[in-house]
Every structure is written in C-alpha cells, then in structure tokens.
C-alpha cells in the first residue's frame, strides 16, 4: 500500500501517560474507501489512537498522516474533511437538534448558503426531522446517538472516525446505526471504527486490525483472521466444571488452542485434530475465537 492511497497512516506511534504506555509502537495503514475496524479489549489503546487522529492527544513518538496531512502540524486541515463520532456523548444538552447541527455546520465551514440544506440532510440521516426543535436533554439515548453520528456527517466528510459507535445501545438502535455505517461505505467514505463488539467488526469491517496493549497484533479481513488464528472449525465441549478443567488440561498438554467459552471449553482448529478431539458440538470458527486466540482475552 503506497502512502498516497492511505486515508490514515501511522508509523511507530507511541503515546505514554505517565508510567502507562497506552500506544506502543503502532503501525496502521487505512486505505481510502474502506470500512476499517479497530478491534480490541478495553484498554488496548483504541480511544487514544482515535484522539491522536484529531490531534486532541499528541503522540510522543512516530508519524501520523491523515488524508495526506501531517499531524499535528496540519491537523486543522485534515479535521475540515473528517467527521468524528465520539464514544462519550458530548452533545450540548441545552440546545435543540437543529441548533446543534447549525453550530457544527459553521464549525465545519459549510458555506452559509448551504447550511440550512446540510442541517436538513443531517436531520434526515438521524431520522430526527420530527424532533428537530426538541432540546437534546429530552431525547432518548438512541436518538442522541443518531444525532451524534449526524453531527459528524454534517459537512459530508471524506473520512469518518467512529469510536465505539454502538456501545451501550439496545439491539434495534445498533442495527439502525449499522445500516447507517454500511451506507457510508457504499458512498465511498472511509470509515475507521473502533469497537470491542466482535459482531460489529465482523458485520461492517472490510479489514480488521486487532489491537492489544497499544499495538496491532494481527490484521486482515474478518475471514482471513478467523482462518489464520482459529482454523475452520471449533469443537465446544460441555460438562461439569471438573470435566471442563480436565479438557483444558488435555488441550494445553496436546498444544491445542482452547478457551473457556461460557459454560463450555472451545477447542480451535478442530478440523486438524482428527480422532483425538474430545466429543462436543462442532461449529464454524468465528472472529471471536480468533480474537481470543490472539489476545488471550475474553470479550464481554
């Protein structure tokens, strides 16, 4: 991948907060026009990485380029063409949807003649036309999140950063947001999305980078990651705790990749085990298996 085709490019980026190294030698290339998922457990450095892309956190080492602009020096130019949807709701609770969108249309330099149209379009994206003049404090959580997304799209950005876009939302609102994000990719907008929901990454991302302890430990399409790190099939063994302990012992003695999976032990690459695998339920390997195999961490 040549640099010019990258919407985002990080090389050797390090960020320390006192004794904690949040980002530890991060290399990342996000090609233009894809939906790129940054998957990792809490504390992997995803949010810090997101903040560095808007120069709200400054890297201690390394180089960052966004939309061809060098950060932090040219960050303001890159922010002009970039939309940001933060993890934490930072809407102005005192203002109405329309007022917030109008303020941000100005902050993002939408020309005066186009502002009203941009605000209407954003209200449409958020599906909030009937609540346009409602004060944010009176909106439901789902509506607020949709408004937060629409606010980041007010200026038709080329690049959108979504930090845990559906965290804490109910399944229906999550589905709505997923369609919205999918729509962005169809329009050719580059999307960088951090998430710790496996399903979200699996459904939406063309490419997934798995982050752990501040660096990328694996990268590829969801299917590639699954094949490479969890194989094709997984066998799930159910039983009483002592039985599960025994299976885990057997797995580690035999060098199999295994993990606790709720009430069961999951053994990966079951297709390679021939007759030696314990009896259990066979299922196709998924991204969660690959993720746990990679990071050693359970999700949620």
């Amino acid at each position: 991948m040549s640099r010019v085709d990258s919407a985002i490019s990080l090389r050797g980026v390090v960020k320390r907060f006192g004794p904690i190294t949040a980002v530890d030698g991060l290399d990342l290339e996000v090609p233009a026009g894809v939906c790129f998922g940054l998957l990792g457990p809490n504390g992997a450095g995803k949010s810090t990485t997101m903040r560095m892309l808007t120069a709200q956190t400054l890297a201690d080492e390394g180089e960052i380029e966004v939309l061809g602009f060098e950060l932090p020096r040219e960050s303001k130019q890159s922010r002009l063409e970039m939309g940001v949807v933060p993890q934490l709701d930072n809407l102005d609770v005192e203002l109405s949807c329309r007022q917030i969108l109008t303020v941000f249309s100005r902050l993002y330099r939408v020309p005066r003649a186009e502002r009203e149209q941009a605000v209407e379009r954003a209200l449409g994206i958020a599906n909030l036309q009937p609540r346009a003049d409602t004060i944010v404090r009176e909106l439901s959580g789902g509506m607020r999140r949709r408004l937060l997304v629409a606010r980041g799209l007010i200026h038709r950005p080329r690049l959108v950063l979504l930090d845990e876009p559906t965290v804490g939302l109910d399944p229906q609102v999550r589905q709505e947001l997923w369609s919205l994000i999918d729509g962005l990719r169809t329009e050719g907008v580059t999307v960088l999305m951090s998430t710790h929901y496996i399903e979200e990454a699996e459904r939406l991302a063309d490419t997934v980078a798995v982050m752990s302890s501040g660096r990328v430990i694996a990268q590829g399409t969801p299917a590639e990651l699954v094949r490479e790190h969890a194989g094709e099939q997984v066998v799930e063994v159910y039983g009483p705790p002592e039985e599960l302990e025994r299976v885990l012992g057997q797995a580690s003695a035999s060098g199999w990749t295994s993990r606790r999976s709720g009430p069961a032990v999951a053994i990966m690459r079951a297709e390679t085990l021939d007759g030696s695998a314990p009896d259990g339920v066979r299922r196709p390997a998924n991204l969660e298996d690959a993720f746990v195999a990679l990071t050693g961490e359970e999700i949620e």
């Binding site: 061809g68 934490l88 930072n90 203002l95 100005r106």
Partner: protein, 268 residues
C-alpha cells in the same frame, strides 16, 4: 502527495484565529444565551443594582458627598466594575468547567477544525461583549438618582469589554487549574471579593492605608473604576491612558495564560 488523498493545489490553507472558527464557537454561545438570557441578565443586572441601592441609599444618607460627587452617583459609577466582574469572572469559571468537564462540549469542538486558541478566544470574547453591555446597567440606575448623561459614557461599554475580557480569561484559567468546581469558592472569597472591595467602588482608595493603596494600584478593577468614573463625570485626562493601558495589559496577559493553562489540559 496525490490529489486523491492530500492537500492538492487550491486547497484552502487555514491559519490561526480564523474569523469563521470564532464565529462558529460564538454562534453556539448565542444559541445557549437565547435560552437563558433572562436568568443571565437578571443575575448580572440585579446583583450590582442591589449593591447600588444598599450602599447608595444607606451610606448616601450618612455621607452625601465623596470626592465632590453625590455618594449615590459615586457608587453607581463604581458598581459598573462590579457588574463587569460578576458577569465575566463567574461565567469564565463555571461555563468553562461545565462545558469542558461535564458536557465535554470542548472535546466536540476541538474535533472540528477549531484549535484551542480559537475556542478560548471565542468564549472569552463572547463573555466580554456581554459584560460590556451588562456593565452599563448601574449607570442606567444612576440616572434615576440624578446622574447626568454625558458623551464620555459611550466609552463605558468599551471599558467594560476590555475589563471583562481580562476577568473572563482569568475565570477560564481558574477553571483550568481547579480540580473541582468547589475550589472556585477559594477564588471567590480570597481573590474576587477583596478585589471588588479594594477598587474604589464604595469608598475612595485614598482613604486606605498606604499598603492597601499600593495593592489597589495593581488591581485591574481599580483602574476600571477610575476609568468609568472619568468617562461618566467628563473628567477624562492623561491619567486615564494609564488606566486603559493597565486594563489592556491585564486582558492580554490573562488571555495568553488561559490559552496556555486550558490548552495543556484539553490536548494531552
């Protein structure tokens, strides 16, 4: 750099303190003000008016004249500075802290093409414009006590603006340094209250012991009071250039201090 993903020819370079960014941030303040103007205006106008009535009428009956003016008029011109102080330092502290820490508004603004310098400048500008306007209220009350309108009074909003700019930026700096909102109490009690008492608002600084007089000289509010009085009683002279210079220097100093202190906390 390619045209597809880089700053191709013709792309607008954006620089420091862009009017568009300042206007954008201030448009947010205007929208919020549109909702709360009644409460904001009430507190900014009523508080100094109460001081004015209490001291003007109360003390006014004991000492009819101070430095050659009717006491009520002496106070009504002095309280302009108090009005400016209240309507700039407090919003500077509270609005900043709430928007930064509780609502995270500043995080959202800084993700847009607005930098810290623009954000803080716009916030301080807005507060100081308001303070300049509110500062006129005591003069209006003064008219009821027989204060004579003079042309020089047209300068009072400007004096209020410059003073308000300094105190708004001071408030932003306090908000940046404070760990919690309760810490503002220290500043209110130990800094702001003595400051408005030792500014020649209610009694001439010349009546104070020498040490206090010296302290008053470095109190920006004292210079605001002097300037407002000289504007209001048609006594503008060379000394007022000195008062104006102190206020401008205070405003500039506090402005840079606010950007430095809040900036290093907003961008980590």
């Amino acid at each position: 750099m390619s045209a597809a993903a880089g700053p191709a020819g013709g792309v607008r370079r954006i620089g420091r303190l862009e009017p568009a960014a300042l206007a954008g941030v201030m448009s947010r303040d205007v929208a919020v003000f549109g909702r709360y103007w009644k409460a904001t205006t009430f507190s900014s106008v009523v508080q100094p008016t109460i001081y004015l009535l209490a001291f003007g009428i109360g003390f006014g009956s004991l000492l009819p004249h101070v430095v050659g003016v009717k006491y009520a008029l002496y106070v009504s011109t002095g309280v302009v500075a108090t009005a400016v102080l209240f309507s700039s330092a407090f919003p500077g502290m509270f609005n900043t802290f709430v928007r930064w820490q509780f609502q995270r508004t500043y995080d959202a603004v800084l993700a847009a093409p607005v930098d810290v310098e623009e954000l803080i400048t716009a916030e301080v500008l807005w507060i100081s414009v308001r303070a300049g306007v509110y500062g006129v209220a005591p003069l209006l009350v003064g008219f009821a006590f027989g204060l004579e309108p003079v042309w020089g009074m047209l300068l009072v909003p400007l004096v209020g603006f410059v003073t308000g700019y300094g105190f708004a930026a001071f408030g932003v700096t306090v908000a940046a340094v404070a760990k919690t909102i309760d810490n503002f109490n220290y500043v209110t009690s130990a800094v702001l209250t003595p400051m408005f008492l030792v500014a020649g608002t209610f009694f001439p600084v010349s009546t104070l012991p020498p040490v206090m007089r010296t302290i008053a000289q470095i109190n920006p509010l004292y210079h605001c009071v002097q300037l407002v009085r000289d504007c209001s009683f048609g006594r503008l002279g060379v000394a007022d250039l000195g008062h104006a210079a102190v206020l401008i220097a205070f405003a500039l100093l506090m402005w840079r201090l606010a950007i430095w202190q809040l900036g290093k906390r907003l961008i980590d």
